[in-house]
Amino acid sequence: MDRRKKDGIANFFIYASAGITVFLLVFIILFIVIKGLPGITIDFLTRNYEDKTTYVNIQLNKGEGGIGEDGYLPVLGAYITVNEQKGIALTKIDKDSPVKEAVDGLGEVYALKNKDTLTKIEDTAIDSYEKVKDSMTQEEYLKNIAEIFSEYAGQSVKIKVVRPGGGIVPMVVTTFYMIVLSLLIAAPVSILAAIYLNEYAVKGKLLNIIHFAIKNLAGIPSIIYGLFGSLFFVQILKMQYSLLSGAMTISIILLPTIITTTEETLKTIPNTYRESSLGLGATKLQTITKVILPSAVPGILVAVLLSVGRIVGESAALLLTAGTVAQIPKALFGNSASGATLTIKAYTLMKEENDLTTACAIGIILLIIIIGINISSKLITKKLLQKKGA
Protein backbone atom coordinates (compact mmCIF):
# COMPACT_ATOMS: atom_id res chain seq x y z
CA MET A 1 0.00 0.00 0.00
CA ASP A 2 1.54 3.30 -0.94
CA ARG A 3 1.94 6.12 1.47
CA ARG A 4 -0.78 8.29 0.03
CA LYS A 5 -3.33 5.58 0.46
CA LYS A 6 -2.21 5.06 4.04
CA ASP A 7 -2.49 8.75 4.67
CA GLY A 8 -5.93 8.78 3.13
CA ILE A 9 -7.16 5.97 5.32
CA ALA A 10 -5.69 7.47 8.44
CA ASN A 11 -7.25 10.82 7.62
CA PHE A 12 -10.61 9.19 7.02
CA PHE A 13 -10.59 7.55 10.43
CA ILE A 14 -9.48 10.70 12.17
CA TYR A 15 -12.18 12.82 10.57
CA ALA A 16 -14.78 10.11 11.01
CA SER A 17 -14.06 9.78 14.73
CA ALA A 18 -14.22 13.51 15.22
CA GLY A 19 -17.43 13.59 13.22
CA ILE A 20 -19.01 10.81 15.25
CA THR A 21 -18.18 12.62 18.47
CA VAL A 22 -19.70 15.87 17.33
CA PHE A 23 -22.70 14.11 15.83
CA LEU A 24 -23.39 12.16 19.03
CA LEU A 25 -23.12 15.28 21.13
CA VAL A 26 -25.44 17.26 18.92
CA PHE A 27 -27.84 14.34 18.61
CA ILE A 28 -28.10 13.79 22.35
CA ILE A 29 -28.58 17.45 23.07
CA LEU A 30 -31.21 17.75 20.34
CA PHE A 31 -32.99 14.62 21.56
CA ILE A 32 -33.18 15.93 25.09
CA VAL A 33 -34.20 19.40 24.01
CA ILE A 34 -36.91 18.18 21.67
CA LYS A 35 -38.29 15.67 24.16
CA GLY A 36 -37.98 17.95 27.14
CA LEU A 37 -38.93 21.36 25.79
CA PRO A 38 -42.72 20.80 26.03
CA GLY A 39 -42.20 20.03 29.71
CA ILE A 40 -40.57 23.35 30.45
CA THR A 41 -43.25 25.76 31.56
CA ILE A 42 -43.43 28.48 34.13
CA ASP A 43 -45.15 26.01 36.46
CA PHE A 44 -42.37 23.50 35.92
CA LEU A 45 -39.81 26.02 36.99
CA THR A 46 -41.67 27.56 39.87
CA ARG A 47 -43.86 24.89 41.44
CA ASN A 48 -43.40 22.22 44.00
CA TYR A 49 -43.21 18.70 42.76
CA GLU A 50 -46.03 17.22 44.86
CA ASP A 51 -49.59 18.59 45.21
CA LYS A 52 -49.93 20.37 48.47
CA THR A 53 -53.10 20.36 50.49
CA THR A 54 -53.73 23.09 53.05
CA TYR A 55 -56.67 24.28 55.10
CA VAL A 56 -56.93 28.04 55.12
CA ASN A 57 -59.23 30.58 56.71
CA ILE A 58 -60.49 33.27 54.42
CA GLN A 59 -62.46 36.36 55.44
CA LEU A 60 -64.99 36.45 52.57
CA ASN A 61 -66.24 39.73 51.12
CA LYS A 62 -69.63 40.99 52.22
CA GLY A 63 -72.45 41.85 49.92
CA GLU A 64 -73.92 40.26 46.85
CA GLY A 65 -73.50 36.63 46.16
CA GLY A 66 -73.94 34.97 42.81
CA ILE A 67 -71.53 34.65 39.99
CA GLY A 68 -70.73 36.73 36.97
CA GLU A 69 -71.00 35.57 33.38
CA ASP A 70 -67.25 35.20 33.19
CA GLY A 71 -66.99 33.16 36.38
CA TYR A 72 -66.25 36.12 38.68
CA LEU A 73 -67.08 35.34 42.28
CA PRO A 74 -67.45 38.66 44.16
CA VAL A 75 -67.24 37.19 47.67
CA LEU A 76 -63.87 35.67 46.81
CA GLY A 77 -62.73 38.59 44.69
CA ALA A 78 -61.54 36.07 42.12
CA TYR A 79 -62.48 34.29 38.94
CA ILE A 80 -63.17 30.60 39.16
CA THR A 81 -63.44 27.80 36.71
CA VAL A 82 -64.16 24.11 36.72
CA ASN A 83 -61.23 21.95 37.51
CA GLU A 84 -60.86 18.65 35.70
CA GLN A 85 -60.45 16.28 38.62
CA LYS A 86 -62.01 17.97 41.58
CA GLY A 87 -63.40 21.21 42.87
CA ILE A 88 -62.89 24.61 41.34
CA ALA A 89 -59.70 26.37 40.36
CA LEU A 90 -58.84 30.04 40.71
CA THR A 91 -57.99 31.65 37.39
CA LYS A 92 -57.56 35.32 38.12
CA ILE A 93 -57.33 37.05 41.45
CA ASP A 94 -58.18 40.69 42.22
CA LYS A 95 -55.54 42.81 43.82
CA ASP A 96 -57.55 43.33 46.99
CA SER A 97 -58.99 39.84 47.02
CA PRO A 98 -59.43 38.22 50.44
CA VAL A 99 -57.73 35.01 49.21
CA LYS A 100 -54.46 36.91 49.31
CA GLU A 101 -54.84 37.25 53.03
CA ALA A 102 -55.72 33.62 53.61
CA VAL A 103 -54.30 32.25 56.86
CA ASP A 104 -53.22 28.65 57.35
CA GLY A 105 -53.69 26.47 60.41
CA LEU A 106 -50.51 27.78 62.03
CA GLY A 107 -51.73 31.36 61.76
CA GLU A 108 -49.36 32.29 58.95
CA VAL A 109 -50.41 34.00 55.75
CA TYR A 110 -50.81 31.55 52.89
CA ALA A 111 -51.71 33.68 49.88
CA LEU A 112 -53.59 31.69 47.26
CA LYS A 113 -52.38 31.70 43.69
CA ASN A 114 -53.82 31.02 40.28
CA LYS A 115 -54.57 27.35 39.63
CA ASP A 116 -54.98 26.65 43.34
CA THR A 117 -57.93 24.30 43.61
CA LEU A 118 -60.62 24.66 46.25
CA THR A 119 -62.14 21.30 47.22
CA LYS A 120 -64.00 21.90 50.48
CA ILE A 121 -65.75 24.82 52.17
CA GLU A 122 -66.19 24.31 55.89
CA ASP A 123 -67.73 20.81 55.83
CA THR A 124 -69.21 21.01 52.37
CA ALA A 125 -67.15 19.08 49.88
CA ILE A 126 -67.05 20.51 46.41
CA ASP A 127 -67.70 17.61 44.12
CA SER A 128 -65.86 17.50 40.93
CA TYR A 129 -67.84 18.53 37.86
CA GLU A 130 -67.14 15.11 36.34
CA LYS A 131 -69.45 13.48 38.85
CA VAL A 132 -72.39 15.73 38.13
CA LYS A 133 -71.95 16.60 34.50
CA ASP A 134 -74.88 14.42 33.52
CA SER A 135 -77.31 16.36 35.68
CA MET A 136 -76.25 19.95 35.11
CA THR A 137 -74.33 22.28 32.82
CA GLN A 138 -71.08 23.87 33.82
CA GLU A 139 -72.79 27.21 34.47
CA GLU A 140 -75.34 25.59 36.77
CA TYR A 141 -72.56 23.79 38.57
CA LEU A 142 -70.62 27.02 39.13
CA LYS A 143 -73.84 28.77 40.20
CA ASN A 144 -74.41 26.07 42.83
CA ILE A 145 -70.97 26.62 44.16
CA ALA A 146 -71.46 30.40 44.14
CA GLU A 147 -74.52 29.86 46.30
CA ILE A 148 -72.52 27.90 48.84
CA PHE A 149 -70.05 30.78 49.00
CA SER A 150 -72.87 33.34 49.30
CA GLU A 151 -74.03 31.64 52.48
CA TYR A 152 -70.78 32.58 54.12
CA ALA A 153 -70.56 36.12 52.71
CA GLY A 154 -68.83 38.44 55.17
CA GLN A 155 -67.80 35.51 57.35
CA SER A 156 -64.50 33.74 57.89
CA VAL A 157 -64.54 30.32 56.27
CA LYS A 158 -62.24 27.35 56.40
CA ILE A 159 -61.43 26.16 52.91
CA LYS A 160 -59.43 23.15 51.80
CA VAL A 161 -56.99 24.21 49.08
CA VAL A 162 -54.95 21.94 46.88
CA ARG A 163 -51.99 23.58 45.26
CA PRO A 164 -50.96 21.57 42.20
CA GLY A 165 -47.32 20.39 41.90
CA GLY A 166 -45.38 19.23 38.87
CA GLY A 167 -42.52 21.68 39.35
CA ILE A 168 -38.86 21.12 40.08
CA VAL A 169 -38.29 23.76 42.72
CA PRO A 170 -37.52 21.25 45.51
CA MET A 171 -34.94 19.45 43.39
CA VAL A 172 -33.29 22.68 42.35
CA VAL A 173 -33.10 23.77 45.97
CA THR A 174 -31.82 20.37 47.09
CA THR A 175 -29.20 20.40 44.35
CA PHE A 176 -28.12 23.86 45.44
CA TYR A 177 -27.94 22.76 49.09
CA MET A 178 -25.98 19.70 48.07
CA ILE A 179 -23.46 21.79 46.10
CA VAL A 180 -22.92 24.27 48.90
CA LEU A 181 -22.71 21.68 51.65
CA SER A 182 -20.42 19.32 49.76
CA LEU A 183 -18.06 22.11 48.79
CA LEU A 184 -18.06 23.48 52.33
CA ILE A 185 -16.84 20.09 53.50
CA ALA A 186 -14.66 19.02 50.59
CA ALA A 187 -12.97 22.26 49.46
CA PRO A 188 -11.22 23.28 52.69
CA VAL A 189 -10.16 19.75 53.50
CA SER A 190 -8.78 18.99 50.08
CA ILE A 191 -7.09 22.37 49.59
CA LEU A 192 -5.36 22.03 52.94
CA ALA A 193 -4.42 18.46 52.08
CA ALA A 194 -2.99 19.60 48.76
CA ILE A 195 -0.99 22.30 50.51
CA TYR A 196 0.35 19.73 52.91
CA LEU A 197 1.29 17.34 50.14
CA ASN A 198 2.95 19.95 47.97
CA GLU A 199 4.46 22.35 50.47
CA TYR A 200 5.13 20.45 53.66
CA ALA A 201 5.37 16.74 53.05
CA VAL A 202 8.87 15.35 52.77
CA LYS A 203 9.40 13.67 49.45
CA GLY A 204 9.76 9.96 49.82
CA LYS A 205 7.99 6.66 50.06
CA LEU A 206 5.18 7.89 52.27
CA LEU A 207 4.33 10.69 49.88
CA ASN A 208 4.34 8.26 46.98
CA ILE A 209 1.94 5.99 48.85
CA ILE A 210 -0.38 8.90 49.55
CA HIS A 211 -0.32 9.95 45.92
CA PHE A 212 -0.99 6.39 44.85
CA ALA A 213 -3.93 6.21 47.22
CA ILE A 214 -5.37 9.48 45.95
CA LYS A 215 -5.08 8.37 42.33
CA ASN A 216 -6.92 5.17 43.11
CA LEU A 217 -9.61 6.88 45.13
CA ALA A 218 -10.32 9.02 42.08
CA GLY A 219 -10.84 5.90 40.00
CA ILE A 220 -13.32 4.09 42.26
CA PRO A 221 -16.88 4.03 40.84
CA SER A 222 -19.21 6.28 42.75
CA ILE A 223 -21.63 3.44 43.52
CA ILE A 224 -18.96 2.04 45.85
CA TYR A 225 -18.84 5.35 47.66
CA GLY A 226 -22.63 5.27 47.71
CA LEU A 227 -22.64 1.84 49.34
CA PHE A 228 -20.12 3.00 51.90
CA GLY A 229 -22.11 6.16 52.56
CA SER A 230 -25.39 4.33 52.97
CA LEU A 231 -23.78 1.94 55.40
CA PHE A 232 -21.62 4.35 57.35
CA PHE A 233 -23.39 7.69 57.32
CA VAL A 234 -26.98 6.56 56.84
CA GLN A 235 -26.97 3.55 59.12
CA ILE A 236 -24.04 3.52 61.52
CA LEU A 237 -24.03 7.26 62.18
CA LYS A 238 -27.85 7.17 62.00
CA MET A 239 -28.10 10.20 59.80
CA GLN A 240 -30.68 8.43 57.66
CA TYR A 241 -31.29 9.35 54.07
CA SER A 242 -30.35 12.98 54.41
CA LEU A 243 -28.68 16.00 52.94
CA LEU A 244 -25.66 15.57 55.18
CA SER A 245 -25.21 11.87 54.38
CA GLY A 246 -25.27 12.75 50.71
CA ALA A 247 -22.97 15.73 51.06
CA MET A 248 -20.44 13.76 53.12
CA THR A 249 -20.41 10.94 50.60
CA ILE A 250 -19.98 13.34 47.70
CA SER A 251 -17.23 15.16 49.60
CA ILE A 252 -15.28 11.91 49.73
CA ILE A 253 -15.76 11.50 46.01
CA LEU A 254 -14.58 15.07 45.41
CA LEU A 255 -11.51 14.92 47.67
CA PRO A 256 -9.13 13.23 45.23
CA THR A 257 -10.22 15.44 42.34
CA ILE A 258 -9.79 18.71 44.18
CA ILE A 259 -6.56 17.56 45.84
CA THR A 260 -5.04 16.52 42.55
CA THR A 261 -6.10 19.64 40.68
CA THR A 262 -4.98 21.95 43.48
CA GLU A 263 -1.69 20.13 43.78
CA GLU A 264 -1.10 20.45 40.05
CA THR A 265 -1.79 24.16 40.35
CA LEU A 266 0.59 24.51 43.28
CA LYS A 267 3.24 22.67 41.29
CA THR A 268 3.01 25.21 38.48
CA ILE A 269 3.80 28.08 40.83
CA PRO A 270 7.46 28.90 40.23
CA ASN A 271 9.70 27.79 43.03
CA THR A 272 11.39 31.18 42.96
CA TYR A 273 8.21 32.69 44.42
CA ARG A 274 8.75 30.53 47.47
CA GLU A 275 12.47 31.23 47.54
CA SER A 276 11.95 34.97 47.10
CA SER A 277 9.40 35.13 49.84
CA LEU A 278 11.49 33.06 52.22
CA GLY A 279 14.53 35.04 51.15
CA LEU A 280 12.79 38.19 52.30
CA GLY A 281 12.49 36.65 55.73
CA ALA A 282 8.87 35.52 55.47
CA THR A 283 7.86 32.39 57.34
CA LYS A 284 6.57 29.35 55.51
CA LEU A 285 3.00 30.09 56.53
CA GLN A 286 3.28 33.71 55.37
CA THR A 287 4.70 32.50 52.10
CA ILE A 288 1.82 30.12 51.58
CA THR A 289 -0.96 32.49 52.54
CA LYS A 290 0.40 35.62 50.89
CA VAL A 291 2.09 34.36 47.77
CA ILE A 292 1.31 30.74 46.99
CA LEU A 293 -2.43 30.62 47.60
CA PRO A 294 -3.25 33.89 45.82
CA SER A 295 -1.33 32.63 42.82
CA ALA A 296 -3.17 29.31 42.97
CA VAL A 297 -6.65 30.81 43.15
CA PRO A 298 -7.50 30.39 39.45
CA GLY A 299 -6.58 26.72 39.53
CA ILE A 300 -8.41 26.08 42.77
CA LEU A 301 -11.47 27.89 41.46
CA VAL A 302 -11.49 25.75 38.36
CA ALA A 303 -11.19 22.65 40.54
CA VAL A 304 -14.14 23.80 42.60
CA LEU A 305 -16.24 24.59 39.54
CA LEU A 306 -15.52 21.19 38.03
CA SER A 307 -16.58 19.71 41.34
CA VAL A 308 -19.87 21.53 41.06
CA GLY A 309 -20.37 19.76 37.77
CA ARG A 310 -19.55 16.48 39.44
CA ILE A 311 -22.05 17.10 42.23
CA VAL A 312 -24.79 18.09 39.81
CA GLY A 313 -24.17 14.98 37.76
CA GLU A 314 -23.78 12.53 40.63
CA SER A 315 -26.50 9.90 40.84
CA ALA A 316 -25.48 6.51 42.18
CA ALA A 317 -23.94 7.76 45.41
CA LEU A 318 -26.79 10.13 46.20
CA LEU A 319 -29.46 7.56 45.40
CA LEU A 320 -28.12 5.50 48.28
CA THR A 321 -27.51 8.31 50.74
CA ALA A 322 -29.79 11.30 50.12
CA GLY A 323 -32.93 9.51 49.01
CA THR A 324 -35.39 10.19 46.24
CA VAL A 325 -38.01 12.28 47.95
CA ALA A 326 -38.95 15.36 45.96
CA GLN A 327 -38.91 17.83 48.77
CA ILE A 328 -36.80 20.60 50.16
CA PRO A 329 -34.88 19.09 53.09
CA LYS A 330 -35.86 20.71 56.34
CA ALA A 331 -32.80 19.59 58.31
CA LEU A 332 -29.23 18.49 57.72
CA PHE A 333 -29.88 14.94 58.85
CA GLY A 334 -32.62 12.84 60.30
CA ASN A 335 -36.16 12.08 59.17
CA SER A 336 -37.05 15.13 57.17
CA ALA A 337 -33.62 15.78 55.72
CA SER A 338 -33.99 13.60 52.69
CA GLY A 339 -34.17 15.19 49.28
CA ALA A 340 -33.59 14.32 45.65
CA THR A 341 -31.36 16.35 43.38
CA LEU A 342 -32.31 17.06 39.79
CA THR A 343 -30.32 14.13 38.49
CA ILE A 344 -31.84 11.67 40.94
CA LYS A 345 -35.32 12.90 40.08
CA ALA A 346 -34.66 12.53 36.37
CA TYR A 347 -33.62 8.96 37.08
CA THR A 348 -36.62 8.09 39.23
CA LEU A 349 -39.00 9.77 36.80
CA MET A 350 -37.80 7.52 34.03
CA LYS A 351 -37.52 4.41 36.15
CA GLU A 352 -40.65 4.61 38.23
CA GLU A 353 -43.06 6.85 36.38
CA ASN A 354 -41.87 6.48 32.79
CA ASP A 355 -42.27 10.22 32.40
CA LEU A 356 -39.83 10.92 29.59
CA THR A 357 -40.91 14.53 29.00
CA THR A 358 -40.30 15.68 32.55
CA ALA A 359 -37.03 13.72 32.77
CA CYS A 360 -35.83 15.36 29.57
CA ALA A 361 -36.96 18.77 30.81
CA ILE A 362 -34.78 18.20 33.88
CA GLY A 363 -32.06 17.13 31.44
CA ILE A 364 -32.29 20.50 29.73
CA ILE A 365 -31.91 22.27 33.07
CA LEU A 366 -28.89 20.10 33.89
CA LEU A 367 -27.36 20.82 30.50
CA ILE A 368 -27.79 24.54 31.05
CA ILE A 369 -26.16 24.31 34.48
CA ILE A 370 -23.20 22.28 33.16
CA ILE A 371 -22.64 24.52 30.16
CA GLY A 372 -22.89 27.53 32.46
CA ILE A 373 -20.24 26.06 34.75
CA ASN A 374 -17.91 25.34 31.86
CA ILE A 375 -18.26 28.83 30.44
CA SER A 376 -17.77 30.50 33.79
CA SER A 377 -14.72 28.38 34.60
CA LYS A 378 -13.21 29.44 31.25
CA LEU A 379 -14.02 33.07 31.94
CA ILE A 380 -12.62 32.96 35.45
CA THR A 381 -9.36 31.41 34.35
CA LYS A 382 -9.01 33.92 31.55
CA LYS A 383 -9.81 36.85 33.76
CA LEU A 384 -7.51 35.81 36.57
CA LEU A 385 -4.68 35.00 34.19
CA GLN A 386 -5.07 38.43 32.66
CA LYS A 387 -4.93 39.96 36.08
CA LYS A 388 -1.75 38.05 36.69
CA GLY A 389 -0.36 39.75 33.65
CA ALA A 390 0.63 36.50 32.05
Binding site: T272, S276, S277, L278, G279, L280, G281, K290, K387
Partner: protein, 254 residues
Protein backbone atom coordinates in the same frame (compact mmCIF):
# COMPACT_ATOMS: atom_id res chain seq x y z
CA UNK B 1 44.59 49.43 45.27
CA UNK B 2 41.37 48.95 47.20
CA UNK B 3 41.64 49.61 50.87
CA UNK B 4 41.46 46.57 53.09
CA UNK B 5 37.78 46.72 53.95
CA UNK B 6 36.05 45.17 56.89
CA UNK B 7 35.41 41.49 56.54
CA UNK B 8 31.68 40.71 56.30
CA UNK B 9 31.73 36.95 55.94
CA UNK B 10 34.31 34.44 57.05
CA UNK B 11 33.94 31.04 55.51
CA UNK B 12 35.90 28.24 57.16
CA UNK B 13 36.32 24.71 55.80
CA UNK B 14 32.88 24.69 54.26
CA UNK B 15 31.76 21.35 52.85
CA UNK B 16 28.35 20.72 51.40
CA UNK B 17 26.83 17.39 50.44
CA UNK B 18 23.69 16.58 48.52
CA UNK B 19 23.30 13.08 49.87
CA UNK B 20 26.48 11.36 48.75
CA UNK B 21 27.46 14.03 46.27
CA UNK B 22 29.90 16.63 47.55
CA UNK B 23 28.96 19.93 45.97
CA UNK B 24 31.40 22.15 47.85
CA UNK B 25 34.85 21.11 48.97
CA UNK B 26 36.70 22.87 51.74
CA UNK B 27 35.86 26.43 50.92
CA UNK B 28 37.78 29.06 52.84
CA UNK B 29 37.31 32.69 52.06
CA UNK B 30 36.74 36.16 53.45
CA UNK B 31 34.12 38.32 51.83
CA UNK B 32 34.59 42.02 52.33
CA UNK B 33 32.09 44.67 53.25
CA UNK B 34 30.95 47.22 50.66
CA UNK B 35 32.54 45.32 47.86
CA UNK B 36 31.18 43.33 44.99
CA UNK B 37 32.42 39.77 45.14
CA UNK B 38 31.82 37.70 42.03
CA UNK B 39 31.64 33.91 41.83
CA UNK B 40 32.42 32.55 38.40
CA UNK B 41 32.78 29.09 37.03
CA UNK B 42 31.12 26.62 34.67
CA UNK B 43 27.64 25.20 35.34
CA UNK B 44 27.54 22.78 38.24
CA UNK B 45 30.74 24.13 39.76
CA UNK B 46 29.02 24.92 43.04
CA UNK B 47 28.97 28.68 42.84
CA UNK B 48 25.19 28.98 43.13
CA UNK B 49 25.14 26.35 45.83
CA UNK B 50 27.68 28.33 47.77
CA UNK B 51 25.68 31.53 47.29
CA UNK B 52 22.63 29.81 48.70
CA UNK B 53 24.44 28.63 51.78
CA UNK B 54 25.01 32.27 52.67
CA UNK B 55 21.31 32.91 53.31
CA UNK B 56 20.61 29.28 54.13
CA UNK B 57 18.40 28.68 51.11
CA UNK B 58 19.88 25.20 50.94
CA UNK B 59 17.97 24.43 54.11
CA UNK B 60 14.92 24.08 51.88
CA UNK B 61 16.42 21.18 49.98
CA UNK B 62 16.08 17.72 51.44
CA UNK B 63 19.21 15.80 52.29
CA UNK B 64 21.67 18.65 52.35
CA UNK B 65 24.50 18.32 54.84
CA UNK B 66 26.66 21.30 55.60
CA UNK B 67 29.97 21.14 57.47
CA UNK B 68 32.23 23.98 58.52
CA UNK B 69 31.21 27.49 59.41
CA UNK B 70 30.10 30.70 57.80
CA UNK B 71 30.34 33.70 60.06
CA UNK B 72 28.62 36.98 59.34
CA UNK B 73 30.13 39.80 61.37
CA UNK B 74 31.62 37.12 63.57
CA UNK B 75 28.31 35.31 64.18
CA UNK B 76 27.90 31.76 62.94
CA UNK B 77 24.89 31.88 60.65
CA UNK B 78 24.16 28.17 61.03
CA UNK B 79 24.02 28.08 64.80
CA UNK B 80 23.83 31.49 66.41
CA UNK B 81 21.21 33.32 64.39
CA UNK B 82 17.56 32.74 63.56
CA UNK B 83 17.15 31.92 59.89
CA UNK B 84 14.38 34.52 59.46
CA UNK B 85 16.64 37.18 60.89
CA UNK B 86 19.50 36.06 58.70
CA UNK B 87 17.40 36.24 55.56
CA UNK B 88 16.23 39.70 56.51
CA UNK B 89 19.88 40.75 56.66
CA UNK B 90 20.88 38.89 53.54
CA UNK B 91 18.58 39.65 50.61
CA UNK B 92 18.51 37.69 47.40
CA UNK B 93 17.88 38.46 43.75
CA UNK B 94 17.26 35.58 41.36
CA UNK B 95 18.14 34.62 37.84
CA UNK B 96 14.69 35.09 36.35
CA UNK B 97 13.02 38.35 37.29
CA UNK B 98 10.37 36.90 39.57
CA UNK B 99 8.09 39.56 40.94
CA UNK B 100 5.07 38.11 42.71
CA UNK B 101 1.88 38.31 40.63
CA UNK B 102 0.70 41.41 42.40
CA UNK B 103 1.16 45.14 42.00
CA UNK B 104 4.59 46.76 42.01
CA UNK B 105 3.71 48.46 45.25
CA UNK B 106 2.65 45.21 46.92
CA UNK B 107 5.77 43.48 45.70
CA UNK B 108 8.07 46.01 47.30
CA UNK B 109 5.90 46.30 50.40
CA UNK B 110 5.80 42.51 50.77
CA UNK B 111 8.94 42.23 52.87
CA UNK B 112 8.14 45.06 55.29
CA UNK B 113 4.59 43.70 55.62
CA UNK B 114 5.67 40.22 56.59
CA UNK B 115 7.92 41.81 59.15
CA UNK B 116 4.93 43.55 60.65
CA UNK B 117 4.90 47.07 59.23
CA UNK B 118 1.28 48.00 58.61
CA UNK B 119 1.12 51.80 58.53
CA UNK B 120 0.33 53.05 55.05
CA UNK B 121 2.49 56.17 55.30
CA UNK B 122 5.51 54.18 56.45
CA UNK B 123 5.04 51.59 53.71
CA UNK B 124 4.68 54.36 51.09
CA UNK B 125 7.97 55.78 52.23
CA UNK B 126 9.77 52.42 52.17
CA UNK B 127 8.41 51.59 48.72
CA UNK B 128 9.48 54.91 47.26
CA UNK B 129 12.90 54.81 48.89
CA UNK B 130 13.55 51.23 47.79
CA UNK B 131 12.45 51.83 44.21
CA UNK B 132 14.63 54.92 44.09
CA UNK B 133 17.62 53.00 45.36
CA UNK B 134 16.97 50.35 42.77
CA UNK B 135 16.98 53.10 40.12
CA UNK B 136 13.55 52.19 38.83
CA UNK B 137 11.37 54.75 40.62
CA UNK B 138 11.18 57.20 37.74
CA UNK B 139 10.12 54.47 35.38
CA UNK B 140 7.36 52.95 37.52
CA UNK B 141 6.20 55.71 39.86
CA UNK B 142 3.05 56.26 37.78
CA UNK B 143 2.08 52.61 37.73
CA UNK B 144 2.76 51.41 41.24
CA UNK B 145 -0.69 49.84 41.34
CA UNK B 146 -0.13 47.98 38.09
CA UNK B 147 0.82 44.35 38.05
CA UNK B 148 4.56 43.97 38.38
CA UNK B 149 4.57 41.45 35.55
CA UNK B 150 3.38 44.13 33.13
CA UNK B 151 6.69 46.05 33.08
CA UNK B 152 9.77 45.07 31.07
CA UNK B 153 12.16 42.32 32.17
CA UNK B 154 14.87 44.77 33.19
CA UNK B 155 12.39 46.81 35.17
CA UNK B 156 11.01 43.65 36.78
CA UNK B 157 14.48 42.70 37.89
CA UNK B 158 15.05 46.13 39.40
CA UNK B 159 11.65 45.90 41.12
CA UNK B 160 12.90 42.59 42.55
CA UNK B 161 16.05 44.33 43.73
CA UNK B 162 13.87 47.04 45.29
CA UNK B 163 11.84 44.29 46.95
CA UNK B 164 15.04 42.90 48.44
CA UNK B 165 16.19 46.37 49.54
CA UNK B 166 12.88 47.10 51.24
CA UNK B 167 13.70 44.89 54.23
CA UNK B 168 16.93 46.82 54.74
CA UNK B 169 19.47 44.06 54.29
CA UNK B 170 23.22 44.44 54.74
CA UNK B 171 24.05 41.97 52.04
CA UNK B 172 22.53 41.32 48.64
CA UNK B 173 23.06 37.99 46.94
CA UNK B 174 22.54 38.01 43.20
CA UNK B 175 22.17 34.70 41.43
CA UNK B 176 22.90 35.39 37.76
CA UNK B 177 20.72 38.47 37.92
CA UNK B 178 21.10 39.44 34.28
CA UNK B 179 21.16 36.13 32.48
CA UNK B 180 17.57 36.58 31.35
CA UNK B 181 17.95 40.21 30.35
CA UNK B 182 18.93 42.08 27.21
CA UNK B 183 22.31 43.91 27.13
CA UNK B 184 20.90 47.36 27.91
CA UNK B 185 18.99 46.09 30.94
CA UNK B 186 22.09 44.13 31.92
CA UNK B 187 24.18 47.30 31.92
CA UNK B 188 21.55 49.05 34.02
CA UNK B 189 21.64 46.28 36.59
CA UNK B 190 25.45 46.35 36.58
CA UNK B 191 25.50 50.11 37.12
CA UNK B 192 22.97 49.64 39.88
CA UNK B 193 25.16 47.03 41.56
CA UNK B 194 28.13 49.39 41.44
CA UNK B 195 26.03 52.10 43.00
CA UNK B 196 24.62 49.81 45.67
CA UNK B 197 27.98 48.56 46.85
CA UNK B 198 28.53 51.84 48.68
CA UNK B 199 25.76 50.84 51.05
CA UNK B 200 25.61 47.07 50.81
CA UNK B 201 27.87 44.09 50.47
CA UNK B 202 27.09 42.41 47.18
CA UNK B 203 27.83 38.86 46.16
CA UNK B 204 27.05 37.98 42.58
CA UNK B 205 27.07 34.65 40.81
CA UNK B 206 27.50 35.00 37.10
CA UNK B 207 28.05 32.86 34.05
CA UNK B 208 29.28 35.93 32.29
CA UNK B 209 32.85 36.41 33.36
CA UNK B 210 33.02 39.73 31.56
CA UNK B 211 30.30 40.84 33.90
CA UNK B 212 32.38 39.72 36.86
CA UNK B 213 35.36 41.59 35.46
CA UNK B 214 33.37 44.73 34.84
CA UNK B 215 31.76 45.18 38.20
CA UNK B 216 33.39 43.08 40.89
CA UNK B 217 36.17 44.01 43.25
CA UNK B 218 37.04 40.41 43.99
CA UNK B 219 36.45 37.29 42.02
CA UNK B 220 36.35 33.68 43.08
CA UNK B 221 36.65 30.94 40.49
CA UNK B 222 34.94 27.64 41.24
CA UNK B 223 35.39 24.34 39.53
CA UNK B 224 33.62 21.08 40.46
CA UNK B 225 33.06 22.19 44.02
CA UNK B 226 36.55 23.54 44.62
CA UNK B 227 37.35 27.18 44.90
CA UNK B 228 40.34 27.28 42.57
CA UNK B 229 41.30 30.90 42.98
CA UNK B 230 40.11 33.94 44.82
CA UNK B 231 41.57 37.39 44.57
CA UNK B 232 41.18 40.93 43.37
CA UNK B 233 39.32 40.93 40.09
CA UNK B 234 42.10 42.82 38.35
CA UNK B 235 44.62 40.21 39.35
CA UNK B 236 42.33 37.33 38.38
CA UNK B 237 41.72 38.74 34.92
CA UNK B 238 45.20 40.19 34.25
CA UNK B 239 47.36 37.65 35.87
CA UNK B 240 45.63 34.59 37.29
CA UNK B 241 47.85 32.42 39.44
CA UNK B 242 46.19 29.15 38.49
CA UNK B 243 46.34 27.59 35.07
CA UNK B 244 42.70 26.43 35.41
CA UNK B 245 41.53 29.96 36.08
CA UNK B 246 43.36 31.23 33.06
CA UNK B 247 41.94 28.48 30.86
CA UNK B 248 38.45 29.31 32.01
CA UNK B 249 38.57 33.07 31.67
CA UNK B 250 40.25 32.87 28.28
CA UNK B 251 37.64 30.42 27.08
CA UNK B 252 40.09 27.56 26.64
CA UNK B 253 38.38 25.54 29.28
CA UNK B 254 37.78 21.87 28.70
Amino acid sequence: MSLQKKCKFQVNDLNLFYGNFQALKNINMDIHENEITAFIGPSGCGKSTFLKTINRMNDLIDGVIIEGTIKMDGVDIYSDIDVIKLRKKVGMVFQQPNPFPMSIYDNVAYGPRVHGIKKKAQLDEIVEESLKRAAVWDEVKDRLKKNALSVSGGQQQRVCIARALAVEPDVILMDEPTSALDPISTMKIEDLALELKNKYTIIIVTHNMQQASRISDRTAFFLTGDMIEYGETEQIFNNPKEKKTEDYITGRFG
